[in-house]
Symmetry: C2
Subunit: 192 residues, 2 copies
DNA sequence: CGCAGGTTGTTGCAGATGCAAGTATCTACC
DNA sequence: GGTAGATACTTGCATCTGCAACAACCTGCG
């Protein structure tokens, strides 16, 4: 796997001399990170619940499906994508299916497998909810971070992701997911 | 096809012209942020559970107490500090009290109030757990982020915090909390 | 003083999540 | 081909969390 970012730094961030102590000033960024996440994600969740009767996790699942080819995904990939346990995904899809937003399909290539497929109604609900959600991200997250700093955050968080789980399940053939929500003349199921 | 060549103009991060769309590249940092947090916090929680039978939230509460003057804190402040609902804090302190790690005290200045006070055993358990926890932070978080970038993350996350909750409950008179866990000859309530 | 309204913490209840165990299926090796 | 082990998902059970309702208390105003 590519170690691509060979930086010109003084030392690699992974190997530092002394063990971390409770008074190390580098703990401040970590705490800020934790608090910021807790506040933002709670707020986004509250907004989605209030305006669309939908949790943040449900939104994330619908979004993942909308960005996947054929609007369908295996349970496992879904679980990895939104960082949820297998059983968590089972129940989450249960709820979305009960609401008619996704449909369970048998996986043709793997008898054990199940796929969740976004329904038209699911896509519609996702698009509606995305207005609230994107407004929230813009307001709480992007509105607080200097544009120049977004790259740093993305790089750092990607590095964290790669480090915590040795691998990553990237899907190179997934096409451009950025248009999954775009209501333009991209594909059939338009928001009627 | 829209030209992605945006000029590098410096405008305030709070006021942007167009509403955020689902294909905006600024969504990538947000998603990376979400995923990184989910992975790191889960990992830290798993480690604490496995090695010290303690959740991350319990650790955070004990730590907050250890950093507070007198090793005690009102329920509300505790709730704000670790971003948990009131009832969540009630139950969390219930558990810690049942384990003998904190003790509930009546607040002398406010008859409604309750304070949680760290017990000696609580401090001891916290110190033990902190080895695991600090090791995890070093390994997963600090080991992934370039030292130069820590400041950016701290600033950004602080800005998010301030924006999401209009105010912040800063305690300027709380002294230097960084020594709360240091086993050295710092202050009175030492591990007898 | 006395009450209205706000604040603090706790409890009933419901929802979301994880682990461990179970079932069905796939893969590899004999 | 057949069996052992791995994998994919689901289910039972326990835990954690939040909202709404509640009780106790404080504050301010008449």
């Amino acid at each position: 796997m590519p170690t691509m970012t060979e930086t010109i730094e003084p030392y690699a961030p992974s190997e530092r001399p002394r063990p971390l102590t409770s008074r190390d000033p580098r703990l401040a960024p970590w705490r800020a990170f934790l608090t910021a996440h807790a506040l933002v994600s709670r707020r986004l969740d509250d907004d989605l619940r209030a305006e669309h009767q939908m949790t943040l996790a449900e939104y994330a699942a619908l979004l993942q499906l909308a960005e996947s080819p054929g609007h369908r995904l295996r349970m496992n990939q879904l679980a990895d994508g939104i960082v949820l346990s297998r059983s968590g995904i089972t129940r989450l899809i249960d709820r979305l299916e009960a609401d008619g937003l996704v449909a369970r399909k048998h996986c043709s290539s793997d008898g054990r497998g199940a796929e969740a497929e976004l329904t038209d109604q699911g896509l519609s609900r996702l698009r509606q909810a995305s207005r609230t959600h994107l407004r929230g991200i813009e307001s709480y997250f992007l509105g607080s971070v200097e544009p120049v700093d977004l790259d740093v955050i993305e790089r750092s968080c990607d590095a964290i992701r790669q480090r915590v789980r040795g691998d990553d399940r990237a899907q190179p053939g997934a096409g451009d997911p950025s248009e999954a929500l775009a209501p333009g003349p991209t594909r059939g199921p338009n928001p009627a």
